[in-house]
């Protein structure tokens, strides 16, 4: 396993941390999308609110799933 000489840590640990940070930021973004969709559906009633909200929640769940998988297998 490659290690960084100065800090003596595996490079892949550092890469894993970067992956996880990126995915956590993405998860926050997915929450913002849910919030934004809720605001839009409250502002505009276009008779298609439920599928749009489901789409936003599925996106959040997918992001959460990828984060959990990354945490477990990396």
């Amino acid at each position: 396993m490659e290690t960084i000489p100065l800090i003596g840590t595996s490079i892949w640990i550092i890469v894993k941390i970067f992956f996880l940070i990126a995915l956590v930021i993405y998860l926050i973004f997915a929450l913002v999308v849910i919030k934004q969709v809720n605001i839009m559906t409250d502002t505009l009633d276009l008779s298609f609110e439920i599928p749009v909200k489901v789409l936003a929640y599925l996106h959040f769940l997918f992001a959460l799933g990828v984060l959990v998988i990354a945490f477990l297998i990396l």
């Binding site: 890469v15 990126a22 009633d45 008779s47 749009v52 990354a70």
Partner: protein
């Protein structure tokens, strides 16, 4: 050219128009009349050219079940328009290409410098990116709408997943409306920009890449005359 997402309703054969009843004047005034139909006679709505129940319609005359938060009780939505569906092709193609890219590129050792478990997460991250491009494209198109009501023009700009802007101008403040159709594709699919000059605080309201801009201009003009 008809909107690709709007299926045309079969036209019902109407009986001889009766001029005395206002609800029938809807037909005598032509298919784009803004005369509010009698709500107790939904058949009159079905006869209107451009009226649809499709929530994805880019041009919906007297749309079914559409309202907005600032709508007044006596205010009726006359027209709902959004960008022509053809404008979605770039992001749809991008989503499709990105969905198949990992399969196509699997024969190229692009990620071989990473351990296998990192490659798996990278591919999942790629599909996450693909999904967000789809969601961004769809929601931006779906929520960026222009609404004409009996009292005002509302412009809802859902620029991206974080930024949105809602502006409105009263019908009485509208001074001029200009239609811009400047390319072969736009002429072919009958869509363009409608720029509305107003005397309100916001000097201009723009309907971007909307289908049938001439018809929207005519509807707006008729509405202005009626309000004045």
């Amino acid at each position: 050219m008809p909107d690709v997402f709007i299926s045309k309703k079969p036209k019902k054969k109407s009986s001889a128009p009766t001029v005395a009843e206002p609800k029938v004047s809807l037909k005598t005034n032509g298919p784009e009349s803004i005369v509010p139909p009698d709500p107790s006679h939904p058949d009159h709505l079905e006869d209107l050219k451009g009226h649809t129940h499709n929530p994805f319609a880019a041009f919906s005359f007297y749309p079914h079940g559409v309202s907005f938060s600032e709508q007044e009780p006596d205010e009726k939505v006359i027209l709902l328009v959004r960008r022509h569906p053809i404008t979605n092709i770039p992001w749809i193609l991008l989503v499709i290409v990105m969905a198949f890219a990992p399969l196509v590129l699997s024969s190229f050792p692009l990620l071989d410098f990473l351990p296998f478990r990192f490659q798996e997460v990278a591919i999942l991250g790629w599909y996450l990116l693909d999904l967000v491009i789809f969601i961004q494209g769809f929601l931006t198109w779906f929520f960026t709408v222009n609404i004409i009501t009996t009292k005002r023009v509302v412009d809802v700009d859902f620029e991206n997943l974080i930024y949105r802007k809602i502006t409105d101008a009263e019908i009485t403040h509208i001074e001029d409306a200009t239609v811009q159709m400047g390319s072969v594709i736009r002429t072919l699919f009958d869509y363009g920009d409608l720029i509305i000059q107003t005397a309100a605080e916001i000097p201009e309201v723009t309907f971007d890449a909307v289908p049938h801009p001439d018809r929207i201009g005519r509807i707006l003009s008729e509405l202005r005359m009626k309000v004045e």
